[in-house]
Symmetry: C2
Subunit: 312 residues, 2 copies
């Protein structure tokens, strides 16, 4: 199988995970981030600077950002929804900013209280602010493969949003499958034209496992040469539109599959599983990660000498 020899995972559990969980105390978030920093992950989305009324779970973003113990090997980032958030991020010292805008207008309005066009018009000032402060700026196109209100999002719509983002000066591009509506052929249908049209632009994909297709989608993109993916430790987080549904793909499931395929992630699976177990305690309920439940494939069990019975 032709796949890249190395991928770069961005851990988003502390942000996308925890914003869809019952609130975790500030100290717990700091503990989680510090533990993740020691696993070999090189990119961690630590917080988001959103209005506390919109997402109370992220109300302590500046406090968390200031308190974490930084590893020199890790790039920490923050997500922002608009210029106000970008200014808070820059003021807090963030030098890796992600701006989110939804390809679907109704999702953008529900999420950011404005149209997609209005969000796109603010990208220029946000990116300028970032660059003026020595920060990089990635634009995340949410609902890239579908919207919980509108259904399918046409490929051209997502590509159009990406185009505007890059013209506004974005340093990198991310596509978010916000509610797990992507399937392998849809991944190909969007990633193929993106690689052609925006050749040379760093592309990161963000898959949710809401409908079980997360790793199949990641595999499809990997075979197309994509090397940057988001994932969430333990599979933290859910889906606000489907109570009980899974959130992001679980980081340890990604690491477990890729390392077995000979694709290097740089992550120590054992350490990551310890963090996943701790994350489960912090949110107070079972998380979706299958590898956390079953252990890695290298885990064997003792042979049950006493259990032999005639089988037929």
């Amino acid at each position: 199988m032709q796949v890249p020899s190395r991928v770069w995972l961005r851990e988003v559990g502390p942000r996308d995970g925890l914003q869809n969980e019952p609130p975790v105390p500030t100290a717990g978030k700091i503990e989680l981030l510090d533990a993740l920093s020691k696993t070999g992950l090189r990119r961690i989305e630590a917080v988001s600077f959103v209005h506390p009324r919109a997402i109370p779970q992220m109300g302590d973003a500046a406090e968390v950002w200031a308190a974490i113990t930084r590893s020199p090997d890790v790039t920490y980032s923050a997500l922002v929804p608009n210029l106000v958030g970008a200014r808070r991020a820059v003021d807090a010292g963030v030098r890796e900013i992600e701006v989110v805008v939804s390809a679907s207008d109704s999702h953008n309005r529900a999420n950011l209280n404005r149209t997609t066009r209005e969000s796109l018009e603010e990208l220029g000032p946000i990116i300028a602010l970032a660059h003026d402060n020595g920060a990089r700026c990635q634009v995340i196109v949410a609902t890239s493969w579908g919207c919980p209100y509108e259904g399918d999002v046409p490929v051209e719509r997502t590509l159009g949003v990406a185009q505007v983002a890059l013209e506004a000066g974005a340093d990198a591009l991310a596509y978010g499958d916000t509610t797990g509506m992507a399937t392998p052929t849809r991944v190909e249908d969007l990633v193929g034209p993106t690689q052609q049209r925006f050749a040379g632009t760093p592309l990161l994909l963000h898959f949710h496992n809401t409908r079980g297709t997360g790793l199949a989608n990641l595999l499809t993109a990997l075979r197309m040469g994509v090397t940057e993916f988001d994932a969430s430790v333990g599979g933290l987080g859910g889906c606000p539109y489907a109570p009980g549904a899974s959130g992001n793909i679980a980081t340890e499931e990604v690491v477990h599959m890729l390392e077995d395929m000979g694709v290097e992630t740089g992550v120590n699976l054992g350490l990551l599983l310890d963090v996943a177990a701790r994350a489960e305690q912090l949110v107070g309920h079972e998380v979706p990660s299958q590898v956390l439940r079953a252990g890695p494939r290298s885990r064997t069990v003792p042979y049950p000498e006493a259990a032999e019975e005639p089988a037929g």
Copy 2:
């Protein structure tokens, strides 16, 4: 993406699913099988004829087999562990028999109380009995990608067991990833040589989602031209070696992904989801199916007019 236009799913929830669940009453099994028969599935593994002391959940196999309402469009099969079970199956009127043998010796001993070699030696008589009674016989190679006691199973070991099965007269071959140890490259590493060495032999793959790789593995095999897969409604069943872990890949997750990719399954997803919901009631706990939780990707939610808040 080059994939077959049609796949054939075999539903194994009533057998592989229920044998790893708390016992379900006979009437519930019959209800489940009759409901599955109306979903468009063409193959259903209904029961197994194993010793009731080994697997009490299947103690009513003959009763269930006799009581189900047969659809003329569905081929019903039964799994057997040995010649005694095969005779019971034939006597019950089964005309599609699966014999299971593990590639791993320790798993075969734990599961069937004999070595792999002893099981292989009995294949000839079992297949002859089947053929003498007008039945087809598939050999399922369990632990094809790994064993919970021994760890990795070498490709040559699995191929060797398959070879013996075909020389003994097996009509078809199945590889079982009994405890979810396969990953996409391992699927390629086994399926590629199988297709070369046993060209023309029907090949079915049986994946468990124990470590989250089930659909990625299926996708890999699909891209290699494999068109027969096992799956379990709701993702019924668990893993006896990892309490709380997932069992088989969920039939509705497979149908949902494949149909969206333009790969025909013949299955009505809405009807199947109704059966999955009922299966969840029958086993009395939440099943792993993500599509059952979140609904299919076509399901939209109302736009939350009242929920608008400033996001940043």
